[in-house]
Symmetry: C2
């Protein structure tokens, strides 16, 4: 049994290695496309440009890249999957809603700043995707907005958030602020992605004014 088991593992290892290699190659294609779209713009970059940067022969580009739009969609999806990955644990946690809100603003701001190429693409080249491809992500983002609105309403019921705050407008304000960080963040700037995330959450929760005002 042990022998058969290891023989099976041996038989699985080769396709596993091949899959890993294919996956690594795919990731390399996507990273190169992300960098080129970021530096030159999506419109100005051709599939052949990306192939050349990867050292692919002209004939084999379409083996790796079916279309430029597919690459954009995959990049936008990857960025979005990563966003979901840090959103779900916060959503599932038992922490008080104000703590969830604080955590989300910090983590989402830092995530946007850390993934500058993909987040820039996500926010600026969005309109280059057809309606049906956008709608999947639009639905997911509406879920995030609803969660933030529910947290605000729950925190208002608990007396932690001011009763006059409009939960819907506040959620739009928060995402507008968080999502705009790609416009000016630079990795070699004065503050790290995480520090900016903390500044943003302090600002949203505490406001600018001193408590005395």
């Amino acid at each position: 049994m042990a022998k058969a088991g290891s023989a099976e593992r041996g038989a699985d290892a080769a396709p596993g290695a091949r899959r890993r290699k294919q996956h690594a190659r795919r990731q390399e294609v996507l990273d190169t496309a992300a960098r080129m779209f970021f530096e030159r713009g999506y419109e100005a970059t051709t599939t052949q440009d990306i192939g050349a940067a990867l050292g692919l022969l002209k004939g084999s580009v379409y083996y790796y890249i079916s279309s430029k739009q597919d690459l954009l969609f995959e990049l936008v999806q990857q960025y979005h999957d990563d966003t979901r990955e840090h959103f779900e644990p916060i959503l599932a946690s038992d922490a008080p809603p104000v703590d969830k809100l604080r955590e989300l603003i910090m983590v989402d701001t830092a995530h946007t700043a850390r993934n500058l190429e993909r987040s820039t693409l996500f926010y600026t080249e969005w309109r280059s995707l057809p309606q049906e491809r956008r709608s999947v992500i639009v639905a997911e983002r509406a879920r995030h907005e609803s969660a933030v609105q529910e947290w605000i309403v729950a925190a208002q019921a608990a007396g932690a958030i001011r009763p006059e705050v409009d939960a819907k407008i506040a959620s739009f304000a928060i995402f507008g602020m968080v999502n705009s960080v790609y416009r000016w963040f630079t990795p070699d700037g004065r503050k790290s992605a995480e520090e900016i995330g903390r500044d943003f959450s302090d600002l949203v929760l505490g406001g600018l004014l001193t408590a005395a005002d």
Copy 2:
């Protein structure tokens, strides 16, 4: 003298009326372009489409429209001139810096929401303009950011704004929030452009938390 004066006015009236008519016609061209760029996107709209919507004969389109990019630039400039027009009185006023900040957030948010076609163009088609055309506006926007940063620092010195606030990060957060309103505002929504401006300024100044927290 009175007669000579009125003769002069009479002589000026004709070119004045012509100028006003030309100006009105130009405004009509710009409004149509703004609406079409907004509805179909800048890339997808041609100069001939705009001419057809204006009822211009094919041959006379280029009398009114030198290029699509010129129209985009003029629309972006108009939007920006209007922004400056409400910014300058706030900048020049003797009000305490916190009041200036409150006023700017209210007015700028409402302005972005009220001018949905032009503000959307301004934020989404920005990259379609060449570097030298962008740089004029970039310089002007940097002036606004600097002013907000100075107000925050002055308010901190006066004890009105929390000393731990990073003025630069806060100014980016504020403009990120204010500028994102075009993404979701609808003129027939639950709240007016002015009400949203007030909600935004309350949020930035007072934060979400109740004073007790």
